[in-house]
């Protein structure tokens, strides 16, 4: 499903003394099957955009196209509900939304709200558990006796079980240990690769953006200031600093290396793999040339 923002403006509490305009003429497109990262420092309007992706908020002016559905200022909750099944949102610290007696019931809660029978929903819940790295024995446990990491998995399962075609993630790895962070991000990437799931990731982790995203949107004070592939956006390091963001460590390291002309690169390395390959290439290359020369001089 394609998501398109057309001149979206959003104002909190319009017409009151506390009026606060947070989005200014937002225009962008999230293509079907893409992995989009939305970045920006705190208070740049990321969360407000996120709530528009799922019609939890409707624009003050302009419209948001969720597939074929246009959401604008005069849309009612009722006409929107069906679209929520298609766009799953994992909020920050999603473990806070668990409430049922058992893990199974909690995961089955979403599908039931969209009209699935309890039995079928529970069956689905059991099927989804291995996807998030838990086994069927968790079905009958209380969500409140689990560890923080496990609770988050259950909460994510509760979103995935609705089989959304777009998955919106708001800092899904916040507060997890490095291993948990890696597992979680790998899981989402796998879903993106194997099921062609469209992913929208809101994050502060530039490494995650570099590793996984193919499209990057940079926000600053409610305006879009950058939109493109991570490779082009991360080129502009000084500019990113000016909007209080940063480049991934790999990019920083590559740029530091490139100060020496011998280490200049053709294409900015984003991930650790790319950086390693670049370095390996550079180290091997002179050697080869040398041997070539030696061969020639010998001959």
């Amino acid at each position: 499903m394609e998501i398109r923002f057309e001149d979206v403006n959003f104002t909190y509490q319009p017409g009151t003394p506390f009026e606060n305009k947070v989005l200014h003429d937002i225009n962008f497109t999230i293509k079907d099957g893409s992995y989009t990262a939305i970045v920006g420092h705190t208070g740049s309007g990321k969360s407000t955009i996120l709530q528009h992706l799922n019609a939890l908020k409707t624009p003050t002016s302009g419209s948001v196209w969720l597939g074929d559905l246009e959401v604008n200022a005069n849309k009612t909750e009722k006409s929107i509900k069906d679209i929520r099944k298609e766009i799953g949102v994992v909020f920050q610290f999603p473990e806070a939304q668990l409430f049922e007696e058992t893990v199974g019931k909690d995961i089955a809660f979403g599908p039931q709200n969209f009209g699935m029978s309890e039995q079928e929903a529970l069956k689905r819940a059991e099927e989804i558990l291995p996807v998030v790295g838990l086994d069927a024995s968790f079905m009958n446990r209380s969500p409140f006796e689990l560890s923080g990491g496990q609770m988050r998995r259950v909460a994510i399962a509760g979103v995935l079980v609705m089989e959304p075609s777009v998955l919106v993630l708001d800092e899904p790895t916040a507060g997890l240990d490095p291993k948990g962070q890696f597992e979680m991000m790998s899981l989402f990437n796998e879903l993106h690769q194997t099921q062609n799931l469209t992913i929208v990731l809101v994050t502060h982790q530039m490494e995650d953006v570099a590793n996984y995203a193919d499209h990057m949107i940079v926000l600053d004070e409610g305006k879009i200031v950058g939109d493109g592939s991570p490779r082009t956006v991360f080129q502009k390091e000084d500019w990113l600093r000016s909007v209080q963001l940063d480049v991934p460590n790999t990019v920083e390291f590559a740029k530091e290396l490139a100060k020496n002309p011998n280490w200049s690169y053709d294409e900015l390395p984003l991930t650790l793999d790319e950086l390693t390959q670049m370095i390996v290439k550079k180290i091997n290359l002179p050697k080869k040339e040398r041997t070539d020369k030696q061969v020639r001089s010998d001959g």
């Binding site: 949102v89 909020f91 939304q97 409430f99 709200n113």
Partner: protein
Amino acid sequence: MGQKLIVGRYIPVDSFVHHLDSRAKLLATILYLVILFFANNWITYLILTLFVGLGIYLSGISFTYFLRGVRPMIWLITFTALLQMLFTSGPTMYFQFGFIYISKEGIQNGLFIFLRFVLIIFISTLLTLTTEALDLTDAIEFFLKPLKIFKFPVHEMTLMLALALRFVPTMMDEAEVIMNAQRARGVSFSEGPIMQRLKNLISLLIPLFISSYDRAPQLATAMEARGYQGGENRTKYRELTWKKIDTVVLLSFLVLFSTVYLLRG
């Protein structure tokens, strides 16, 4: 959610009313509320309205804030005033039908009730808009101190009050986040049959309770780790200072009191 509430908010402005001692403001507000119930004719109501008007002017806060404070209550106020208007009989009758009377006295009473409600909301809004919650709890602690003689746990009470006030906005934010998360999972809090909606509320209330249960021991641990041992022998960081102007303000309310008392019919 909750963002419509004006009463209970603090708006920092550098103004005359903001700089008054919170004890003076609290006392003055209570005094004013008492005076309000003595007023019973046009002249007294006029004086009281002017007095609040002066307060609002001196607070440096836009009048629209105060109007917004009244807004959520406007139906209740109108309803009460109308009841008063329709069911009061008096010597000067304009109209009578069964048990419905419209009399000069009734209309006047209705208007007075209306005015009284509005003034109550105005003066309490004035207090909360210009006084930080912590200052207000400090003032309450000060006035409750004499109760210590009766072994009343004044410090514990005001600590609870201060903590409660501090966490109101936090809990509001949290409620909104959880509501959004559940709405994303297909819950509708504003539509559907009433029983279903009540059931849906469970998905909001349980997470909210759980997070408060989680937060309470965390806060207690953090307080103990910083050496909190209860109210005995504590010093204060925020000292309330009573200035001359506070006495003047309080005296002006006493003058107001006696004027209204003398002028009442």
